[in-house]
């Protein structure tokens, strides 16, 4: 019987229950959607890493041999060790295209996953090629490609197409974070298939260990073991692909936690107001139920179940649909950056817990709403509820209060009287503004980074990258043909008193092709003393101008110590910058790696020293691809914002309307014109909207900032939100608010004065 009563009550308050349902649905829809996405990635990556036996530790050095492997194998806690030769080479056919050639023997660690063609086999003669690279270059199994290894060039058949766990995120360039499969790929071949006369030196040792918690100890032992050799140790945290992908997952995790909170809050608050109203209007019914012999707890449980049902139904629907809708949309964007064998969604247990929490908190809200009602003495419920004592606040005793118009007095008191309702309206509005601003701000910020990076800082047109094995004469050939600024870029390790980081060193020769800006984005130059450090790197190392840092190029033994003369800000490639003269004062020789030039260069140029030529437009284009995928997210956010704003405001407006219908009818009888009544109603709406917007704008900024703080360490994006976006967010919120209001105030005309005033409810 009570169940039927509940359904009838819900039908009667359909609008309100639908909006509560929608909010509960949206909360779990967004949460479960994002959860399924990152948890799916995590699960899939875990499976992939396990299947391909991804190494835990990489030693990068030179002349590793079987003896070394044996020595490491004997260490306790080490599970498996493999040798590998791995180096980037330009493909013979096209200097711009680079292939990372890997030579292995009967390795067991970090094996490629063959997706097409013959399975890995030590006796096969040929190469297994990166599937993405093959696709981008229309290469097929059976085709022959040319491979270059120092000393020889030979041809190999493509045996199969592969994926590799170390190339989930595949980039060879600090200046771009979109992978460029067209120009960068990898290939694997067995040592047995190399030309007889070629002997290669293994430059990598791959290790897997029993327990990741022993990692530090093992690394220390290994570093000690090879103390006499130049070697770089990499683990999952410092591996470009593994750490970038982990970062991505962390970022989505963070995003998935923030947004549903607003919907969650609204759902719980809506239940509170709606249930208060329902139980309020059912005082006599409650009395009747009591008289029929229903216990207080049973009645209480009856009303609490409204909340639980709604929360549960909305939550479950979101749980089912969120992963099916949101995850694939996010995948679209990620597929352009990451390469995984399989993209699948998976719900973590947290999602189920959230739905349970949702239902519980909706139940709790209804409990709070009815508890007071059941306590009330029957006599008290006959009179209209007295306004709370605060109604005569100090504000109202002042002279000013009497000068206020009736409408202002009425609306102010109404806001004070129904605090929860007003609070909800404000939450709904600021949620709307904040989401709009977040979406647009994210787009602005990324747009701006492109301009900042490629227009303001890197003013050159082309970057000519030099082969690392060239002779001075070959470089001279380049120098004679093109003019520009020579730079040397090297990966380095950095150390402050307390922290250690990896980054890039840029040594500058004379020229003005690459520019620097301070934190406030004023142009600065790098002084001829000390080093400049990037803002993000300075933060990571916890140092400021005037402090000393130590750094060394990968593979070198001695640390150099320098004073920080200036801090510059750059979005990509964090590290230090030093002038050539200062660099040479350290006893280092300047080995240019690139020539930056404003000349337009023919892409097909072929010179011995040139490894490849990067045109700025290519980089800008790959950036725009990222923007394209951001657009999808912006769209979702904008739709969510509009839905949130309109559902909340409509629900509250309808609630306030039914609560005040008697007052509105009275005003009509007194001779208020519908237009006047409408403006009275919209006054409150506008106040709350303005208040919500005032709160929403900084929250929107904060959301963008928060999002940026979860970006990988190598990126330093500055929040940038254009005035236009701020205005659009504010206007958009207003439009939602005004539209909802005008929809609602249509009903004013329909108020039937006679029946509205007939009796006391």
């Amino acid at each position: 019987m009570l169940l039927r009563k509940m359904i009838r009550d819900m039908k009667k308050n359909l609008g309100q229950f639908i909006s509560i349902f929608l909010m509960a649905f949206l909360a779990s829809f967004v949460f479960a959607g994002i959860n399924a996405e990152w948890y799916g990635l995590q699960t899939e990556a875990g499976r992939y890493y396990k299947e391909t036996k991804l190494a835990d530790i990489w030693l990068i050095g030179s002349s590793f041999n079987r003896g070394d492997v044996k020595k490491i194998m004997e260490l306790s806690g080490v599970k498996d060790v493999s040798l590998r030769f791995s180096l980037d080479f330009p493909t013979y056919s096209n200097k711009d295209k680079i292939l990372n050639i890997n030579v292995i023997e009967d390795n067991t660690l970090s094996l490629p996953k063959v997706v097409e063609g013959s399975p890995l086999n030590t006796t096969e003669d040929g190469i297994w090629l990166d599937q993405s690279y093959a696709k981008a270059n229309s290469l097929e199994i059976g085709d022959q490609i040319q491979v270059e290894i120092p000393g020889t060039i030979f041809k190999k058949d493509i045996l199969g197409l592969i994926l590799h766990p170390e190339y989930v995120y595949s980039s060879n360039d600090s200046g771009s974070f979109m992978p460029d499969h067209d120009n960068y790929g990898f290939g694997f071949l067995y040592a047995s298939s190399l030309p007889e006369d070629l002997s290669i030196e293994y430059n990598q040792i791959l290790m897997s260990i029993d327990d990741r918690s022993n990692e530090e100890g093992i690394i220390a032992i290994v570093e000690n073991m090879f103390a006499d050799r130049f070697m770089l140790v990499i683990n999952h945290d410092s591996h470009l692909s593994v750490s970038s992908f982990n970062n991505e997952i962390e970022q989505n995790k963070a995003m998935g936690g923030v947004f549903p909170v607003v919907f969650f809050l609204i759902a719980a608050l809506s239940i509170l107001t709606t249930m208060t109203r329902i139980t309020n209007s059912q005082r006599t019914q409650i009395g009747a139920l009591k008289a029929l012999g229903f216990s207080k707890n049973k009645i209480l449980f009856h009303y609490v179940s409204y909340g639980i049902w709604i929360g549960l139904l909305g939550g479950l629907l979101g749980l089912i649909t969120g992963p099916l809708v949101i995850a694939p949309i996010l995948f679209i964007m990620q597929k352009s950056i990451y390469t995984l064998p399989k993209w699948s969604i998976a719900l973590s247990p947290i999602s189920y817990i959230i739905v349970a929490l949702l239902a519980l908190s909706c139940g709790l809200s209804s409990y709070l709403a009815c508890r007071g009602q059941l306590k009330e003495v029957p006599a008290a419920s006959l009179r209209p509820k007295a306004p709370k004592s605060s109604s005569h606040s100090r504000m109202e005793k002042s002279k000013l209060w009497y000068k206020l118009s009736f409408g202002i007095q009425w609306n102010l008191r109404d806001i004070i009287r129904s605090r929860i309702r007003s609070l909800m309206a404000i939450v709904g509005v600021f949620g709307c503004t904040a989401l709009l601003l977040f979406g647009l701000g994210l787009r602005d910020t990324i747009n701006k980074v492109s301009d900042w990076m490629y227009k303001d800082l890197n003013v050159y047109e082309d970057k000519i990258n030099l082969d690392s094995h060239t002779f001075k004469e070959d470089i001279a050939e380049v120098a004679n043909s093109y003019s520009g600024q020579w730079i040397q870029e090297s990966p380095i390790e950095l150390k402050s008193d307390s922290k250690k980081e990896n980054g890039f060193l840029t040594v500058l020769d004379d020229g003005d092709e690459i520019r620097f800006e301070d934190v406030q984005r004023n142009r600065i130059s790098i002084p001829s003393k000390g080093v400049g450090i990037s803002y993000k790197m300075a933060e990571l190392l916890d140092v400021k101008a005037g402090d000393n840092i130590e750094w060394r190029i990968y593979g070198q033994k001695d640390w150099a110590r320098s004073e920080i003369s200036v801090i510059y800000r750059t979005p990509m490639g964090q590290g230090i910058v030093i002038n050539k003269d200062v660099y040479e004062d350290f006893g280092q020789s300047f080995n240019p790696t690139s020539l930056l030039t404003s000349d337009r260069i023919d892409e097909d140029i072929s010179m011995k020293a040139i490894e490849n030529i990067q045109n700025k437009n290519t980089l800008i284009n790959s950036f725009n691809e990222l923007l394209e995928s951001i657009r999808m997210i912006v769209l979702i956010l904008v739709l969510g914002a509009i839905l949130l704003g309109s559902v909340v405001l409509y629900n509250l407006g309808a609630l306030s309307f039914t609560e005040r219908v008697r007052e509105l009818a009275t005003l009509k009888v007194l001779g208020f014109h519908p237009k006047q009544i409408r403006s009275l109603l919209s006054m409150q709406n506008i106040w709350l909207t303005i208040l919500g917007i005032i709160i929403g704008v900084p929250i929107g900024f904060w959301l963008v900032d928060f999002m940026l703080s979860t970006m990988p360490a190598s990126l330093d994006m500055r929040i940038f939100i254009s005035i236009k976006s701020v205005i659009i967010s504010i206007l958009g919120t207003f439009i939602v608010s005004v539209t909802v209001n005008s929809l609602l105030s249509r009903n004013i005309r329909k108020i039937d004065m006679v029946s509205a005033l007939k009796s006391v409810e």
Partner: protein
């Protein structure tokens, strides 16, 4: 011509296929400044009549002339103006705005009308000058009803319409309210029409309109009406 003229007024309520005739061919006149009592059993059509007169509802047939103007020809906008300028309404359930004080409930009229009575004067006229700062929930029923009368008269309406103003009050308080209404009519020359169930009140009115089943059963004019106090003794 009379101040108010009901001319063959009929009001049908349509409920699906059923038509209920709540006012059936009603005609009567009322002169300016009269204190009129409408009597009749429940469901006779008293409220219907008052609502039509007050411009809250539309007639099905007939015309209602106020000062020579036929309000049945008015559209919604004109009716709103008519209610604003000419009518003061008092209901059984006071219909005050709970979130406004007594004074604010009266003074809200200034939002629609300029030539109003002074609001404090209106409150003291109904004997509530001390209670202006109280909220409706802090006032007794009779006091609330008097606030709603103050709100109605401060508009300086041509016509004060009261639908069972004493219905929710005890006898003594009800009498006080009726006395107040009679006083307004006698001293200020206000035309007042009161619906009541108290048949004794026929004696205090200048004119008594008796209704039954939507029809007029009798209209009595009283040459020497008594005062409310005299009747209640």
């Amino acid at each position: 011509m009379s101040f108010i003229r009901f001319d063959k007024v009929t009001k049908d309520y349509v409920m699906g296929d059923l038509i209920y005739r709540a006012a059936d061919n009603i005609s009567f006149d009322i002169e300016k400044g009269e204190f009129v009592i409408v009597l009749g059993p429940s469901g006779a059509g008293k409220s219907t009549l008052l609502n039509l007169l007050g411009g809250l509802d539309y007639v099905t047939e007939g015309s209602i002339l106020i000062d020579g103007n036929d309000i049945t020809k008015y559209d919604e906008k004109a009716l709103t103006i008519y209610r604003k300028d000419s009518i003061g309404f008092v209901f059984q359930f006071y219909n005050l705005i709970p979130s406004l004080t007594a004074y604010e409930n009266v003074s809200l009229i200034k939002a629609i009308k300029r030539d109003t009575m002074d609001f404090n004067e209106a409150l003291s006229l109904v004997g509530l000058s001390e209670h202006g700062n109280k909220f409706p929930s802090q006032l007794s029923g009779g006091e609330q009803q008097r606030v709603s009368i103050a709100r109605a008269i401060c508009k300086n309406p041509k016509l004060l319409l009261c639908d069972e103003p004493t219905g929710a009050l005890d006898t003594e308080t009800g009498l006080m309210v009726l006395e107040l209404l009679q006083m307004l009519s006698r001293q200020n020359g206000q035309t007042v029409i009161v619906v009541t169930h108290n048949a004794h009140m026929a004696l205090v009115a200048d004119r008594v309109i008796k209704l039954r089943n939507g029809k007029i059963s009798e209209v009595v004019t009283n040459q020497s009406p008594l005062s409310v106090r005299e009747v209640s003794w």
